[in-house]
Structure formats: C-alpha cells, structure tokens
Subunit: 413 residues, 2 copies
C-alpha cells in the first residue's frame, strides 16, 4: 500500500506495519491508519474523481487502506443519496439542511461500509472465514457482504438478539451462535473462538481498518456537496466508531486540500445511555452507563471506541446533545413525513439531536447542516408501530368514512 | 409531451389525448402510452445516456411520459444494482446470470418506480392529494415518494394488512384508512372516495402512466449490460403490471435501435395463485383463483392487469412456471447465501422459477439470464424467520461450543 505509512496507537503512539490482520496495540489502545497525503495528492484530484463512474465507496480507493490489486467488493456499498431538505430546514430554523440516507445500502445500514472493508482486508490476509460478535447491523452487514464474496462467517449474538436481525444472518448463511448470557459473555466466547481458529476479526473497535471504511460516508457527502463544507454534521453515537470514522474522512479531505475548513460535529446520544457525551461534557474520563434506550444500535453502555470518538468531538469543536426515546421517535416521524426517509431509531437520533439544538437556539439561523441517517426503519418495525399510532378503521361505507374524517377534523380537498 | 402521441386502449383500440389524469378506457380496457420513436431517436443516443450522471429512473426522460418541465421526483428511485452471479449461474447450470436487486430502492421495492411516476403526473395534473388502495409495496412507495414531494396521500388498506407495512405508511404521514372487509370492499370504498374528492388516482391497473415508470427496470438492466441482451429475464407475476412494464421498456429499446433482439420472459407465479400463467398455458381467458401463497405481494387471485401481462408473455415467446411456497423460501436462502441479496418472498419468486426451469432442463446450458428481485426481505421478516431455522444456542464456554460444532458437523478452519 503506497498510500499508507503505518498504523499508530492512539494511546501510546507505538507504530506498526500495516499488515492486513492488525488488531489492537499491545497497550490495549486502538490503532489509527496513517497516510502519505503528499503521495495521495499526486494520484487523486477532484477532476479524477468527477470522471469516475464507480458509484460505491471504492471510488475513493486512493484514500483507503487496500492494495491496488485488491478487488472491489461485490455488493454496491456506499454512494447513498444526499437529499436536500428545504422544508425541514425551515421548520428547524436553519438555512440549509441535507439528509444523508445511509439506510439505502445493501443490508440497509452504514455498517456495510465497514463490512465491505473487512471483506477486502480478509482477502488480503488470505482468510476464508470472518467472525464477529454483534447483535445488529455490523453482524448482518458482515454476513451479507461475506456471502456475496464467497467467504464464511461465524457470528456470535447474545440470546436476546432481535429475531429479525437473526433472520437476516441466517438468510445470508452465517453460522450464528446464540450465547446464553450477556453481551460481555458473548464477546468473550467470540474472542476465544477467534483466537483458537484464527478467523479474520471484524470488530470495529479492534480492527483498525473498519473505521476507514466508515469514513467514506464523510468523503461522499463532501463530494455530493461539491466540496462546500456545511457548518455542522449531526450523527448518532454508540460505541464511537462511526463518528470517529466520519471525522477521519473529513480530516483526510482537508489534508489533501479538497476542502478548506472542517465542520463541527454534533454528537447525539440517547439520554439513557450517553457515556461518550458525558465524558466530553464533564471533560473527564468516560465511565460505563446503563443501556436505557429503545435505540438498540446505540445502546452501548461500555463503548469500545471512546478514545477516537471523544478526540473527534473535541477536535471539531463539536456539540453534544442527549435525546429521550420520545424525541427519537418524533424524529423518525419527522423524517418520514417531511423527507420520505424511514430510519431506524438509532438511525434518526442524529436528526433528533439537531432538532433539539435548533429549538434551544444553539445554532445560528444561517447555519448549514447535514444529518446522517445510519440505518433503515425496516430493521426495527416493532418500535415504529408503537410510535406511529393506528389507522382509521371503518366499514366499506362512504358515509361512515365521511363521519370518521369529520370526527378527526381531517381536511379534504 | 413531444415524445408521446396518445394513449390507446389495449382492448378496443380507442385513442385518447395523453392528459395527466388518464384512467381506463370507456370500454373498461387499460390504456397503453404510444410514443413517437422517430422523434425520440433524434433526442436520445447511447452516447447521450453514457454521459448522463443522473443515477435515477429519470435518466431515461426521453422515453418517459412526462413534460420536459416536470421536475425529477425527490427520492433516488431506480438505478438499482445489477450483480453478476457466476457461482449461482454454475449451480443452476447456465452460462451467465445477473441479479437485479430492486429491493435497493428508497422504500425497498420496485414499486417506487411507479410511485415516482405517479408523483410526477400528479404534479402535472395540479393535484395535491394522491390516493390508492393496496396492502403492500405500492402503498408504502406512494406514501414515501409523496411525502418527499410535499403531497398528501390517502391510502386504503384491508384490515388484514400486515402491521409492518402499516407502520411504513403511518411513518410517511399517509392518512391510512383500514377497511373492515375484504380487499374488494377496500377497493370499492377507495373508488368512491377518489371519485367524490377528485384525488389523483395511483392504481397501476387504472392509471396507464404507472407501468411506464416500472419499465425503467428494463431500460436500466440493458444499459447496465452494455446493451447486450440476455436470453431470458425471470420475474414474479402478481397483478401483471410489473411484467407488462418490463416488456414495454424492452420493446421501447428495440424500437429506437438500442438493442437488436428481444429476450424471452420467464413469468413466475405461485402454484397456489397463478391465474395469468394458467391463461397462457391453457391458451384460454383468465379465470379467478384463490390466493394460496405466503408471497403476499403476488397473491392476486383477480389480476387487475391481465391483458398487458398475457400479451407480454406471448409476444416474447415467454416461459411460464409455478413454484410452491417451499421453493420460494429455498430461493430466498439461495440468493442470501450465494449473492448476499435478501429478497422478500414475492421478490425472490422469479429466481425460484428460474431455478426450477433449469432443474427441468428447460434452459440450454449456454443460456444467459437476468433475475429481478422486486422487494427487500426486511419487508416480511416473519416468513424469513420461519424459513431460515434457529441459531446454535450455547453457554459462554468454548468446550460447549466445540461440542455443538462437532454435533452439527460444522467444518472449522
């Protein structure tokens, strides 16, 4: 990889050769991939990109830690739509707003970006099996991307994993191990099994390449905006890998001169589970929290990537905000009715936070912002049903329909 | 519309001016939009298309029945991925196979193509409200596309409609009327209400523009294949609108000289509900059937567009094949494990039929085929769960995991 210099520990600074099967530093810190931006600048220009037809995350190959000979992965991951939302911007009281709908990915979440990277690196490592422990989108995206690539997957889930996500895993042909115990028990068993059988490890807080896949969401939105940087980018935060990846992509673009300033991040967590935001707000080390939120994908009381996430929020002069489950479900409805975008609860949490900050007057009226929707609402229909209410029920009789409309003051024209 | 000559009844041949709010012919027949291909040939070339960046169905504007001034609709509908599937082709015993994954659309089904067209035509008609009756993908795609466009929707569903689909509708802000009665009762109430309030009518068997939206799936796959025509295209058939639209798109391309031959259609229905295929096979008028299949989106015993569908199958020298629910669910698993594509039951029915014909030796070994997946598996998680089995359940103990793997003869490497 001519474009990569090394991998460096974010805690102790120790450097490692960027071999395909990197895991954490000996000190326990997570590694960061260090690029040779001078070299990249000689290979990648805005014009090169503009002429590139590839509508996937692999269009940014010069900024990704893969060998030139490593093929693109099979599924069409990335280049998700960025919708301008003028009516919603007006409602929130800011100048411009865009919604990046990352639920439009092959397995319906942003995690496809990390899993595609895992498949690419597993191939470089000569691995035929990839493993991870997860209850949600990381697991299903790995299973789908690996199936398309002809690789096997072993996926460890806690017994409480939602049936729908298990169905996705089984349909993609993963070997799914349901562990009778907590998530910690699940993770521990997966750790032992991965060590024993030498499977390729897809855990975003251990494998430093994965957030390099996630960063493509940031590269894309800037290209889609014609390299005009918004003032803010709002995104939900769980274990911290996604916001850290987003920030890395933005810094990459700044380093090669594609953008001339950096936006401020808006880190949104659930009020019932916000250890990363709390650490930023208190300017203190993070401490574990309970996981009291229905937004399961960000219900992470013991974040596995707090260091990179906290650093990203601080470096960007970011804002933090916590939202209740009620505010999350209101944001789901808001995005559905105003933009035709159906996000899962964790997926719309970024928008919920943005809305809350606007209502508190924390954003100037001439602000511009992007809100990232990280997963599709079809992933979690149960919560949507609880939130969205019941339809009007009538017999097949126009008179009764008229009465029902009148009772509910439904305007007809 | 310079590119459109008129709308012509497929039954009696009567011609109508192509106004935006066309419905059926006075004789009850459905209308077909007639184009001026000589004019279109002066406006659209393969080179024009190749240089067009628009990754949506609107890239084919010259072949679509909209005014030049009508804006593209808001959501990114169309340009779904076409995946080559060499391993699956080998397994089925044909030379080449591609999977067109139309579940990667904003509301996760092919129906987004028809609903985007409905939104465009409603705008031309000056309408602010669109209505339809449907239990499934047509409804949710209309609700999503209309919400993004700032249009209201009134959607009539039978009381038995699956909760998940109702949740999508409510999240998109549709006014949903749940009718206590059969689908016929539901349709009848919607007909009366649409007449009474003058709402724009989105029913694919009544509004002739909608299959013009659906045809873009055919235009796209040909462009994605570099205008090399496959021998066969397999697709599931319910009310007949989708296969009719697909065929229309292919004939358009033939008429303007973009392709030099036409493929044969493979029309796949559920064994428990196959009135269109039965009519083709018996060379007799279609007769109603019961709706005995779990593939709800194609459980249509009284098809609303049989004429265009039967004509399409016959014109293409098409094949018909019926598959059991077991064969449908096996195809779901096959697409998941071999291609990383998760389709809903009706969505994978085309692949189930293709597989069955291959097993019966009905396709030559040098055949090439495209199989269209019409909707995402997340639309119907319940059936996937029933079909895909249970994960391995163990405590967090490596010894017990070893035993479990050994019992199931799971290979480890």
């Amino acid at each position: 990889m001519r474009n990569v210099i090394c991998a460096r520990c974010v805690k102790c600074g120790r450097e490692y050769e960027a071999v395909p099967n990197l895991t954490n530093c000996g000190c326990g810190g997570i590694l960061d991939i260090i690029y040779d931006y001078d070299y990249i600048k000689t290979k990648l220009t805005k014009e090169t990109l503009a002429n590139r037809r590839n509508p996937t995350m692999w269009r940014y190959r010069e900024l990704l830690p893969v060998e030139e000979t490593t093929p693109d992965t099979e599924l069409r991951v990335g280049w998700s739509p960025l919708y301008e939302a003028p009516r919603l911007a007006k409602e929130l009281g800011i100048r411009q707003l865009w919604i990046k709908d990352d639920g439009i990915n092959p397995t319906a979440s942003l995690k496809d970006r990390a899993s595609a990277m895992a498949v690419a690196k597993a191939r470089e490592a000569g691995a035929e099996v990839i493993a991870c422990s997860s209850t949600g989108n990381a697991a299903s995206s790995l299973a789908g991307n690996a199936a398309a690539a002809g690789l096997k997957t072993y996926i460890f889930v806690p017994a409480r994993a939602p049936k729908g996500k298990v169905a996705q895993l089984m349909t993609f042909g993963a070997t799914v191990i349901s562990v009778q115990g907590s998530y910690e028990d699940t993770f521990e068993l997966s750790r032992q099994a991965i060590e024993r059988w030498g499977w390729y490890n897809r855990n975003a807080a251990i494998n430093p390449y994965l957030s390099e896949g996630k960063k493509t969401v940031g590269l894309e939105m800037m290209e889609q905006l014609g390299w005009q940087v918004p003032d803010y980018i709002a995104i939900s935060v769980g274990d911290g890998c996604t916001i850290a990846g987003l920030w890395k992509g933005l810094k990459d673009l700044y380093a090669i001169g594609f953008i001339d300033r950096l936006p401020r991040l808006i880190a949104v967590q659930a009020a019932g589970c916000c250890p990363i935001n709390r650490a930023v707000e208190e300017n203190a080390p993070w401490r574990p929290m309970e996981e009291n939120t229905l937004a399961d994908s960000i219900a992470v009381g013991v974040p596995r990537n707090p260091d990179k996430a906290i650093q990203a929020i601080r470096e960007s002069k970011g804002l933090t905000v916590e939202v209740t489950d009620g505010e999350i479900m209101a944001a789901q409805k808001l995005l559905g009715t105003r933009c035709g975008v159906f996000g899962e609860p964790a997926g719309v949490t970024g928008t919920a936070g943005l809305k809350k900050l606007c209502a508190q007057g924390k954003l100037p009226p001439d602000a511009t912002a992007v809100s990232v929707v990280t997963g599709n609402g079809l992933k979690d229909v149960a919560n949507a049903i609880r939130a969205c209410g019941e339809p009007i029920s009538v017999p097949s009789d126009l008179g009764r329909l008229l009465e029902a409309f009148a009772e509910r003051h439904i305007p007809l024209k």
